[in-house]
């Protein structure tokens, strides 16, 4: 069949141009990276995620050979949205905190979908724990149940992981309890327990550790299957294995649709950055617990948490 001349004039050049562009893109992927990479951090400077991210940056720059530009955002949907909507060219990556980012999505209409990010790896994995003030007369979960009045927990507001963890613990441990919400950050609600605003607090171990070390709080239960805190009962011992499903994971992601070659390059660089001896040394000095994981593990974390919170949507406290 003879093609009309006009089509020939349009189609052939289009094919040639597409071929050239593909070739150029192919060449670009091989050259990647050639300019600075933006690293989105969903926390104000000095926050926990900020420290983890900045620990990685020097080694990541060494592995990739370009400058990494940290870009801080306040907590909330802006950071994950910025990451989600960025161009998938490998020049924007970012920290995605789970399940916090997922809970925001489940709380309200956000412009991102956690299942669609391109996952590059995991930086940290933290267990949750239940603590009381060091001078509290409560020394065990059994004692908490025998109080004869509702136990009060201090926590952040609905939509936060701490709130969800507290709700889960109340149910699985069979506690008669109430939650005093409204604290803007972990140090504040932990301080709330020390002050006596409430009886107990549930949050991640990294936030609790400084207060445990300085003998201001004592741990009663760790939400894990193993031996995260020697001498402290775990979720199994408390007959509440479900508690181990709540954890804090710091993942590294990129926008959906990242080309596979660039994805591999970034995943390898992140893994190398975490393994770098300087990073490990700085992490040790900063008492930051790096728990590396690859892209597949990161994706598995997201899938598991999504399934868990979809099944237990009432934990989120959506108004």
């Amino acid at each position: 069949m003879k093609l009309p001349a006009a089509v020939k004039r349009l189609v052939l050049p289009a094919i040639v141009i597409a071929g050239i562009l593909t070739g150029i893109t192919g060449v670009r992927a091989a050259d990647y990276p050639t300019k600075p990479i933006t690293f989105i951090i969903p926390a104000a400077p000095g926050g926990a995620y900020d420290i983890s991210a900045r620990l990685l940056i020097p080694a990541l720059q060494k592995a990739l050979g370009v400058t990494i530009l940290p870009q801080n955002f306040s907590a909330g949907p802006v950071a994950p949205t910025q990451l989600y909507k960025a161009r998938p060219d490998g020049y924007t990556i970012g920290i995605v905190s789970m399940p916090g980012t997922l809970l925001l999505q489940l709380m309200g209409s956000t412009d991102y979908d956690v299942d669609k990010y391109t996952w590059l790896g995991r930086v940290a994995h933290e267990t949750y724990a239940l603590a009381v003030a060091a001078n509290s007369p409560i020394n065990s979960i059994a004692a908490m149940k025998a109080l004869g009045r509702p136990v009060s927990f201090t926590s952040a507001g609905p939509g936060s992981t701490a709130f969800a963890a507290t709700q889960l613990a109340m149910r699985r441990l069979g506690l008669n309890a109430k939650i005093i919400t409204g604290y803007p950050s972990a140090p504040e609600y932990i301080l709330g327990v020390i002050r006596g605003d409430g009886d107990a607090v549930i949050t991640n171990l990294t936030a609790l550790t400084p207060f445990v070390t300085s003998h201001q709080v004592k741990l009663l239960l760790s939400f894990d299957d193993g031996n995260a805190v020697p001498g402290v009962p775990n979720a199994r011992a408390a007959h509440a294995p479900d508690l181990a499903k709540i954890s804090l994971d710091t993942l590294v992601g990129a926008p959906p649709g990242l080309p596979p070659e660039i994805r591999k390059r970034l995943s390898d660089a992140i893994a190398a950055a975490i393994r770098d001896p300087d990073t490990q040394a700085r992490a040790k000095t900063a008492s930051a617990d790096l728990a590396p994981g690859n892209a597949a593990q990161a994706a598995a974390v997201v899938a598991a948490q999504h399934a868990f919170f979809t099944k237990n949507a009432d934990l989120i406290g959506k108004p």
Binding site: T38, L69, Q71, V78, T81, Q82, K85, A86, R87, P319
Partner: protein, 162 residues
């Protein structure tokens, strides 16, 4: 609009915004709406008193004397919405913000500085151009290079809308 009526425009606008705030707040849950409703109703009352204080009636004059003695009298109310105020003061800054949002910081800054100096400040072409370039270089050098703070690229060039 007569000068006497102009004095009511701003408090009337505040009254309407506060009323909308109260209506919106009443749709929230009981704890979430407690403070907004309290603040909204108190503000509505205060704005109503402010409006009455401007009427020049005996009640109005008594309110002004008791609670707002240094306030402008209706006759002295300064025109805020004049065409000149808009053209000279507000419009250029709104245009800069629009430019910032659409095409980003780096293109908007030199265009705005040049246009302001050339047509508003009546400076020569060369002076305006040199100052525009200098300010742009300072912004680029200080914020982007030294402090490594990204400059907004603009919605049309991939900037995020938030």
């Amino acid at each position: 609009m007569p000068a006497a009526a102009r004095t009511f425009v701003v408090p009337a606008a505040i009254w309407l915004v506060t009323a909308a705030f109260i209506i919106s707040a009443s749709r929230l849950g009981p704890v979430a709406r407690a403070m907004p409703l309290l603040v909204g109703w108190l503000t509505l009352l205060l704005v109503t008193l402010d409006i009455v204080a401007r009427t020049g009636t005996p009640v109005g004059r008594a309110l002004t004397s008791a609670l707002n003695p240094a306030a402008l009298t209706p006759a002295d109310a300064q025109a805020t919405g004049s065409a000149r105020a808009f053209r000279v003061g507000l419009a250029p800054i709104l245009a800069l913000i629009a430019g910032f949002t659409l095409i980003g910081a780096l293109p908007s800054v030199p265009v705005f500085v040049f246009a302001s100096l050339r047509w508003h400040a009546q400076r020569g072409f060369l002076t305006s151009a040199v100052l525009a370039v200098a300010v742009t270089l300072f912004v680029y050098g200080m914020f982007y290079k030294v402090l490594q703070l990204p400059l907004y690229p603009g919605l049309l060039f991939g900037g995020a809308w938030q």
